[in-house]
Symmetry: C2
Subunit: 148 residues, 2 copies
DNA sequence: GGCATATAAATCGCGTGCAAATTAATCGCA
DNA sequence: TGCGATTAATTTGCACGCGATTTATATGCC
């Protein structure tokens, strides 16, 4: 019954709690977002774009901690779905500026409903959620700092 | 400055804190695990197998909250690397039983070192980590319950 | 101006995650 | 015993994530 003391149980790893909670959120969002034709990462991108109209791929990536190699194909799918536009910045042709279309803005209401449904399913107080977010964001930032 | 009250900022979503912390853990583990030839999910599988010798794919999936369609290809890669064996259970040929090879067990020490390095980089107390794990595990379990 | 350097996206390859369908083996029950 | 229902694993298709490379554009320095 006594395990190797240097070797943790999977349940004792903080990273695993984060990992499995992340999977669970994905599974919780999936059926709700299916109704509006978005994946979970696409939903996060849309939320970010609703608050960062006209930003570049790089700026979006900084907000979401994602690389352009992840975002480019995802953004092309959102463009193909008619939810956003991708246009080169005339002032700096290296950048691609992202804008939400009318159709994309039409999802705001349903997206807000999904957010509320999620909050209800998770069922923790706003105060507890805030504390948890702070802890997780601190860890994330510390890890990023650690990598310089 | 006042955003649509029904529409959250990305930073206000608990799911995003979990999501981005998960990405950060992955990025933190990657270079360390590269040295022993494992990916982050493969590392989690090995930790689970070290504590569940001889379990089936289904049992492993229950421990990690992963589907067999995710695990089968991953386990085949671990088998190809010589770290585990996959053998049908003679008592029930539907099951595949997983065992760690000598080579696989040889990674235990280095895996433990990686765990310690991670704990150091995250830099929170064991007590704070335990509290955080409890909160995240509660949320994960509540989400799973919610899906029945 | 001219050219090395730096920056922003896009591309490529690989390994997850997971829904849906398939295959093989076991169970349950008349 | 036999056969439909259940279960375990695999396969397939698609969408991430990300390291590494490539392409196109802009910057800096002479």
């Amino acid at each position: 019954m006594t395990a190797d003391p240097a070797l943790p149980q999977i349940e004792d790893l903080l990273c695993f709690s984060v990992y499995s909670a992340g999977l669970a959120f994905n599974q919780l969002y999936r059926p709700l977002l299916d109704d509006i034709g978005l994946t979970y990462p696409q939903f996060l991108v849309m939320v970010a774009l609703w608050n960062h109209e006209g930003c570049s791929v790089k700026e979006l990536g900084e907000a979401l901690f994602l690389d352009s190699s992840t975002l480019t194909p995802l953004l092309k799918r959102l463009e193909a779905a008619g939810l956003i536009t991708r246009l080169r910045n005339p002032r700096d042709e290296r950048q691609v500026l992202l804008r939400v279309t009318g159709k994309g803005n039409g999802l705001k209401g349903k997206a807000a409903q999904v957010s509320c449904a999620i909050a209800g399913a998770v069922g923790i107080s706003a105060e507890a959620a805030r504390a948890l977010r702070t802890s997780l964001d601190d860890i994330r930032d510390k890890i990023h700092d650690h990598a310089e």
